[in-house]
């Protein structure tokens, strides 16, 4: 019996260690990035153009590029994703047809990001002739985050109790009125939370934009959606792997990573806080 207790103790400690490992992994990662990038943080770094082959100067065009890419991606993906989730949850009747759509959403979520890049290159850049541009990259990323938006919106819609729908229908509302005025208001926070997470994913994605419009160095900001652009994740990648002077560009890379992480983690944080808030607010 005593031996058994000891054994149990050892196993519990090992399991605890796995938890500790996760915390340490994050701590080490954040430590290196924050300590490496903190020194670079200044208004000048954030608001000026890169100089001397990006060994000095700022990362302003990358930040603008990433932000405009995110905005454009969301403008495309958000309506498609939420409306298609509304169809799937509120309108679709069970059957082969609906199963096919579900299967498609599911498979879309499993496609590697680089394959989305290939799609973007084949469809938007070459076939539709949009060229290497902000719009090609945004369309590609929009398709990529679509399954995330659909899945989280579906979940939010399903969480609205059935009797609210039945009540509205019983009072003579049409299906759309029920959905619009009695389901959506409650599901909206959840849908937005999922979309913010999807957006943060799009912000950090690199592989698809390599092929669809991100550029290593441009001297001006993109003037239209048909221009090439600079983006934080792509610049981090190219500077880290293809720079002629690794040591000199390293502070810039660390700074860019810190900014990218701040953008991504802030959005994650907002999403997590919002989710917890609304979970408490609506308890059916």
């Amino acid at each position: 019996m005593k031996w058994k207790k000891i054994k149990e103790h050892i196993i519990y400690s090992l399991l605890r260690l796995t938890g500790l490992f996760i915390v340490c992994a994050l701590a080490v990662l954040l430590f290196y990035i924050i300590s490496g990038g903190m020194g670079k943080m200044s208004w000048d770094f954030l608001s000026s153009f890169p100089k001397d082959g990006m060994m000095s100067g700022g990362i302003f065009p990358m930040i603008i590029g990433t932000l405009s890419l995110m905005t454009l991606t969301m403008l495309i993906a958000l309506p498609i994703g939420t409306l298609s989730a509304i169809y799937l949850v509120e309108y679709a009747k069970p059957g082969r047809f609906t199963d096919a759509i579900r299967l498609a959403v599911h498979n879309l979520a499993g496609v590697p990001s680089i394959v989305y890049g290939l799609l973007g290159l084949g469809l938007f850049v070459v076939f539709l002739g949009l060229g290497l541009s902000l719009i090609s990259a945004a369309l590609t990323l929009a398709i990529m985050v679509l399954p995330i938006i659909i899945a989280s919106s579906q979940e939010a819609l399903r969480a609205v109790p059935q009797n609210i729908r039945e009540g509205a229908l019983a009072l003579g509302s049409t299906k759309w009125e029920t959905t619009r005025y009695h389901v959506l208001p409650y599901a909206l926070p959840g849908m937005m939370t999922g979309s913010i997470l999807a957006l943060s994913r799009a912000a950090g994605e690199t592989a698809p934009i390599i092929m669809t419009g991100a550029a290593f160095y441009i001297t001006h900001l993109p003037s239209s959606i048909f221009d090439e652009f600079m983006a934080l994740p792509y610049s981090i990648y190219t500077l880290a792997t293809q720079s002629s002077n690794v040591e000199a560009t390293r502070p810039t890379i660390f700074g860019a990573i810190l900014v990218l992480l701040l953008i991504v983690l802030c959005m994650n944080l907002v999403a997590i806080i919002a989710r917890n808030y609304y979970r408490k607010k609506y308890r059916w």
Partner: protein, 306 residues
């Protein structure tokens, strides 16, 4: 007269509402179909740009050749085997590291951890999942590779092991959150029955909870694997990208995803090389599709059980 006007208005209003309802239904159906359209588009464009390679290139060499050297001035060769092997080994390494830690952590979170520890660990895992892959890649390139080199005296500075470890860390959030869900959905009665029979907590976890959640945990692992196979930036920056056949984890390797990412920027549109990269994309798509399909089946079986 007044009465008829009133009823006429009411009638019209109702009709408009119904028309509106029907229109909205049709529009929504159109949006619902987008996912299907995009899947078809992905397939169509992979085939459209990839198949020409099999018509014009050496498709036997593609599947059996052990040399990938598209820029060779004499005879460019497109053998996918080194990359398939690279992807396989790097992923295998990641599985070996991530599965024990991931499953262990999910058991800890679901069954053992104090609620307060759980509440702090969950966001940590979520943040880990939210970090962009290029950041992991940079960390592997700059920090992790130096550690590995110091510790194992690796053959090349960037090697498969570095990629595996970094991928393992990236897989962990998926494995942990999905298997924790699986463990949590094991019915309470089963656990209570086991405890009531006098088994200790650990015996219950090992003998009742884990077997019951096994298919869910398996599905979680398979999905993690699918993610690892499809991951691009991390392996691209960490493994050194030498397309050679080698089983030594401490040498440089190159995965299918990295090949597409590195070379796509340099090839002229419509060249054999361009089509070959799409052919690699087809292989990658098929592999991840099959793995996701299997994960789906396993998950379905788990859900039907409870």
């Amino acid at each position: 007269m007044k009465h008829t006007m009133f009823s006429l208005k009411k009638f019209d209003y109702k009709k408009i509402r119904n028309i509106k309802d029907k229109t909205v239904r049709k529009i929504l159906l159109g949006f619902g179909l987008t996912a299907v359209i995009f899947i078809i588009l992905i397939l169509a464009f992979l085939l459209m740009e990839g198949l020409p390679f099999f018509f014009n290139g050496d498709s036997i060499d593609f599947f059996t050749g052990d040399v990938w050297d598209p820029s060779s001035p004499n005879i460019p060769r497109y053998g996918i085997l080194p990359m398939v092997l690279g992807t396989f080994l790097v992923t295998l390494g990641a599985i070996v590291i991530a599965v024990p830690i991931g499953v262990g952590c999910s058991i800890y979170l679901a069954e053992i951890a104090h609620p307060k520890i759980r509440e702090t660990l969950k966001p940590v895992i979520e943040i880990l999942a939210g970090i962009p892959s290029v950041v992991y890649g940079f960390f592997a390139l700059v920090v992790l590779s130096a550690w590995i080199d110091d510790f194992f005296h690796s053959t090349t500075r960037l090697n498969a092991l570095t990629g595996s470890i970094m991928l393992a860390v990236m897989m962990l959030p998926i494995i942990i959150s999905l298997s924790e869900d699986a463990i949590r959905s094991v019915p309470r009665e089963m656990k209570e029955a086991s405890l009531a029979l006098g088994l200790t907590k650990w015996d219950t976890i090992r003998g009742v909870v884990i077997p019951a959640a096994l298919s869910g945990i398996t599905a979680a692992i398979i999905l993690g694997v699918a993610r690892a196979i499809g991951e691009t930036m991390t392996v691209l920056m960490a493994t050194g990208n030498a397309p050679v056949i080698s089983f030594d984890m401490l040498t440089s390797m190159r995965t299918m995803t990295a090949t597409i990412a590195v070379e796509m920027g340099e090839v002229p549109f419509g060249s054999i090389h361009y089509h070959a990269l799409f052919a690699v994309g087809i292989v990658l798509f098929v592999i991840t599709f099959v793995i996701n399909f299997i994960a789906d089946k396993v998950m379905k079986r788990f859900r039907e059980k409870y």
